[in-house]
């Protein structure tokens, strides 16, 4: 009987690992950064005038600059979020 009581007492006072109930949620990325870059425009005709050709080139440059802005924002997002995360884990 005493042995059983001692066993119960030992189980009750036994230390055990406790999971810390605080979780750091991975930050959500703004939807605007998840949009894919537009594919570059092509000329679907066999002959075009010079201004039309140049307009297509200019449109493609605009697409590039838009995509570059998003990539740059991704880099800023990563740098800033990493800093916040690093500060939290200090």
């Amino acid at each position: 009987m005493i042995n059983k009581l001692l066993l119960c007492a030992t189980v009750l006072v036994a230390g055990c690992t406790t999971v810390v109930p605080v979780k750091q949620k991975f930050p959500e990325v703004p939807q605007i950064l998840m949009e894919k870059c537009e594919p570059l425009s092509t000329i679907d005709k066999t002959s075009v005038v010079f201004s039309e050709f140049l307009s297509t080139v200019a449109v493609n440059y605009t697409k590039y600059h838009t995509c570059a802005a998003v990539v740059s924002a991704w880099q800023d997002w990563y740098r800033d979020q990493k800093k916040i995360s690093d500060d939290l884990n200090k």
Binding site: V13, T18, L33, L40, S47, V48, S51, F53, A58, T66
Partner: protein, 148 residues
Amino acid sequence: MWIINWLPEFLVHLIFLAGILGTIAGFVFGYLPLVNKYKLLIQVISVLILSLGVYLEGGIAEKQKWELRVKELEVKVSEAQAKSAHVNTQIVEKVVTQTNTIKVKGDKVLQYIDREVKVFDNTCTITEAIIKAHNLAALNQLPLDEQK
């Protein structure tokens, strides 16, 4: 410790206090006739109770320390989440502004082409090879003779 999770805190203090009182009674007041009769039994039991009490008190102190750390961490995490949301807002604003500026500038360039370059439409001939080269570059494709 499991027992600490369901045992009321005052009971732990009570066990500890009982251990102290029992130990004092067993070791200091052993000369009293009533205590003297069960002196050894009181000493053994009270030392065991005191040990359990000290152990449980230590457990409570440790638990409180962890709870405090959890609270500190919760505050830090919520601050970090607020900062993170602020960063997201700033980045979205920046991208929207930049994208609009790029679009406006692009439109201005197209207007410029319409206004200033159209006059060269008759003098500059765009051959099929030029269009093909442009499309290959836009699609990042190899020319046919390079594909072999």
